[in-house]
């Protein structure tokens, strides 16, 4: 990631923790990372750079600081805030805004990408009647899935149907994004260009090219949710709910029974703290209707806490609450309230902002 790419992930109003951005990119789904990812509106970054090293953005961030485009704010954890100059630069050089980014946390990108690229290669070579060629290097699961799919889908008009379907998907995207995706495909007499090469050709950063590429893959995978799409059987299984299976089970136990959280923990044979982490994860990643907020945050609790907390969500600090409130309400309740407010819940509840 180039400094100018990081610039677009920062803000002049809100100081942002570099570690959160790093952990999002690396796909670390801790509650804290997810919560701040939601606050920064950066959840689409989740798992986009799984191979990024710890501290892998430090030098990039430092470059912004030494160009006086951002400053470190003195906090427990280093936070970055854009300077006026940084904000000006950010607004002057717009970056790519992926159309489908709201969907990204719901798609297993690695699965969808590998399956799409390999199936396009297989179908392209099949359409040109090439029997022997080097297949793209993918993992065994992808090879098996594509082989099985191809065995069932093979027909004289398969390539044409895929051409039509891909054209329909790519036409919805900006021209350059369609170019990036198409030029990156490998197939008959086309080795495919790397993101690095496309970046040079199109005068963009490799990161922007990557965002375009992902946007294209997600668009195609989204269209392939239709049962009559030629890639449906291959790509539909790559969609998942945005929360882990285990968190889903916890949420189900909470919503379908009258058990207390500690009783749910006993029933599910997990730690009480894990139950709470699962609920917070679900609260962040799912719509506000998915959780029984009325039960978890009774009106009296909300009113008491909101009366003691600052108006700005990002200024909330559990440890800054008066001791008696800390004794009455645990961190879970505090954080859940923040998520609820972030999702617009406070608008219905009569907060001090009204």
């Amino acid at each position: 990631m180039d400094p100018e790419d990081l610039l677009h992930l920062l803000d002049d109003q809100q100081a942002r923790r570099l570690r959160v951005i790093e952990n999002l990119l690396r796909g670390r789904k801790t509650v804290s990372t997810l919560y701040w990812g939601q606050r920064y509106d950066l959840l689409f970054l989740l798992g986009l750079a799984k191979h990024l090293d710890r501290g892998g953005l430090d030098a990039t961030a430092q470059a912004l600081v030494s160009q006086k485009l951002a400053t470190w704010t003195p906090n427990e954890q280093p936070q970055l805030r854009l300077t006026a100059k940084g904000r000006q630069r950010r607004d002057q050089v717009p970056t790519y805004q992926p159309q489908t980014r709201a969907l990204w946390p719901q798609l297993s990108l690695a699965v969808a990408r590998q399956r799409l690229l390999l199936s396009v290669q297989v179908v392209s070579q099949y359409a040109h009647r090439t029997a022997r060629y080097y297949p793209l290097t993918t993992d065994l699961a992808t090879r098996q899935a594509v082989r099985q799919w191809f065995h069932q889908a093979k027909s004289p008009d398969l390539a044409t149907r895929i051409f039509t379907a891909l054209t329909a998907s790519l036409t919805q995207l900006p021209e350059k994004t369609a170019q990036v995706l198409t030029a990156g495909f490998s197939g008959y007499q086309q080795p495919g260009l790397t993101n690095q090469q496309l970046a040079v050709d199109l005068h963009q950063t490799p990161w922007e090219i990557y965002l375009r590429h992902v946007d294209g893959v997600v668009r195609i995978a989204q269209d392939a949710r239709q049962a009559d799409h030629p890639l449906h059987a291959l790509l539909a299984p790559a969609w998942q709910t945005a929360v882990t299976r285990s968190a889903q089970a916890t949420l189900r136990a909470v919503t379908t029974t009258a058990l207390t959280l500690d009783q749910v923990a006993t029933q599910r044979q997990i730690k009480p703290s894990t139950v709470r982490e699962h609920l917070l994860e679900a609260a962040i990643m799912l719509p506000v209707t998915a959780l029984p907020y009325e039960r978890l945050l009774p009106q009296a609790t909300r009113q008491t806490l909101l009366a003691a907390l600052p108006a700005q969500l990002d200024d909330w600090e559990y440890t800054a609450l008066p001791a008696d409130l800390q004794a009455r309400f645990d961190f879970f309740t505090f954080r859940l309230l923040a998520i609820w407010c972030d999702k617009g819940g406070a608008g219905h509840a009569g907060t001090p902002n009204d």
Partner: protein, 476 residues
């Protein structure tokens, strides 16, 4: 009674004749002799075990230290029509490994990295197989102390015995007399040795001393601008390969790409296929990864750094001219370049005091340090501190010797070919005009027939995507 070797060759590969060394090696193996085949790069070493595997029941087990290239090898074998092929390395996912292990009996060819083979569970599982042949690829790694030195290679002798001493084929492109002896000793066998001349008469050898780094860059640029493509340039680091690829692209307008371990497998695939297809004029590679390039018409190989020894140099420049057409190998040398191999040589080597302290308190050291990881390996395999010190000393002496030979090549005033081949106990043909140009002798690219005539083609611009997608998927 087996069909004649040439009949199998015709059936499997469609060739009517063997290349030098292939038949001798196969004949020795079929007579039941362990065989050490020293054949130059491009001689078709893999064909030997492929054909043996085709002719004999059981599994051919190939041990190769080139982790990242194993997938390429497996792909290449599948492409050649061998379907029952698999590779297990530390890069293989757990699920894939389990799946391969569950069907182990079905594979005709199995590639393993040394560290996988050294695992007792793996060894036990392999013990249940009928091995028709054990292949030790890059066998010189048993004795070489380079950046890709794998201590597991030292265990190969013991491992081979545990597997019931199966018929063994040792392959290398480079080995002097001493190395051959050491390979045989380590593997506890007395092999039949099949050797072919390492000489590549169609490659013109050139050494060019330059004053400093800036002059080196300028000379590289001049060469790349004037020479016919395609070419390969070797660099000492990923970073340098990447930076120079971009610089050369900017300066020349040619299609230049970097190729090294830092690329994703998808990007490596693309670059490799672009090069094969002729979309790229020049590849900037690091040493280990250049070995994955398998293209016959490479016209030149340039070294931007000093190779660690003549053996690796011969392997790398041997990528040029596999089609037998006139080609060029250039070594650019700045005084002091030899410091880099020296540093690489010493970087991983713990000193005697560290060895003593480590053996006294192994727990006190971090395994993240490559030198400590190596010591841990030796300790776990019961090798004493004194033995380790002796081992390091011997290897360091060998490395020093190898580097001295490399420098003697660079400074050779008369015939580079004679100097190179002498290091491998070979006599070169008499020097002539199309042989070589030592440091003080200028080269004439026109005389060599390697000067580019046509103007530089522009880098292709990404065309209309709909037309491109149509070409990809819809046959005319």
């Amino acid at each position: 009674m087996l069909e004649p070797l040439t009949t199998s060759l015709q059936t499997v590969f469609g060739y009517s004749e063997f290349r030098a060394g292939q038949k001798a090696a196969l004949t020795a193996l079929e007579a039941g002799h362990d065989t050490l085949a020293v054949l130059p790069t491009g001689a078709g070493k893999t064909l030997i075990y492929q054909l043996y595997g085709y002719r004999h029941p059981g599994c051919v087990l190939i041990v190769s230290p080139l982790l990242a290239l194993m997938t390429d090898q497996v792909n290449r074998m599948r492409l050649a029509g061998f379907r029952r092929v698999a590779a297990i390395t530390s890069l293989t996912s757990y699920g894939e490994r389990q799946s391969i292990l569950a069907h182990l009996e079905q594979y005709q060819f199995l590639f393993l990295s040394p560290e996988m083979l050294a695992q007792p569970a793996m060894l036990a599982r392999l013990g249940q197989l009928t091995l028709s042949l054990l292949v030790i690829d890059e066998a010189h790694c048993i004795v070489q102390w380079g950046p890709d030195f794998r201590p597991e290679y030292l265990l190969l002798g013991a491992i081979r015995e545990k597997l019931g001493s199966p018929l063994t084929l040792m392959l290398t492109a480079t080995a002097d007399h001493a190395t051959k002896g050491e390979i045989a000793k380590q593997l506890r066998t007395t092999p039949t040795v099949v050797t072919e001349s390492l000489d590549r008469p169609n490659i013109f050898l050139d050494v060019e001393p330059v004053a400093n780094d800036a002059a080196k860059r300028e000379r590289l640029l001049a060469l790349v601008t004037q020479l016919v493509f395609p070419g390969v340039i070797y660099f000492s680091s990923k970073q340098l390969a990447t930076d120079m690829a971009q610089w050369l692209r900017d300066q020349t307008g040619l299609a230049v790409a970097a190729y090294h371990a830092g690329l994703s497998s998808e990007d490596r695939f693309k670059i490799q296929q672009q090069f094969m297809q002729g979309d790229l004029a020049v590849i900037c590679a690091t040493s280990a990864f250049g070995m994955g390039i398998d293209k016959n018409d490479v016209r030149y190989v340039i070294h931007y750094h000093l190779p660690a020894d003549l053996g690796s140099y011969a392997q790398e420049m041997g990528r040029a001219g596999r089609d037998g057409q006139p080609s060029l190998a250039v070594l650019l040398y700045t005084p002091g370049d030899e410091r880099l191999p020296l540093t690489l040589n010493q970087a991983n080597r713990p000193d005697d005091a560290t060895i003593q302290r480590f053996y006294a308190h192994p727990q006190a050291f971090s395994r993240n340090d490559p030198g400590i990881a190596l010591l841990t390996f030796y300790l776990q395999h019961g090798i004493s501190a004194t033995a380790v010190q002796a081992l390091f000393e011997r290897r360091e002496k060998e490395r020093g010797h190898a580097l001295a030979q490399m420098l003697a090549y660079v400074r050779e005033p008369c015939c580079l070919r004679a100097r190179w081949l002498a290091a491998f106990d070979e006599t070169a043909p008499a020097h002539h005009e199309a042989c070589c140009a030592p440091g003080k002798v200028p080269i004439d690219l026109t005389d060599l027939g390697l000067k580019r005539q046509a103007p530089t083609p522009p880098t292709p611009v990404a065309p209309d995507w709909q037309a491109q997608l149509r070409r990809l998927l819809v046959a005319d």
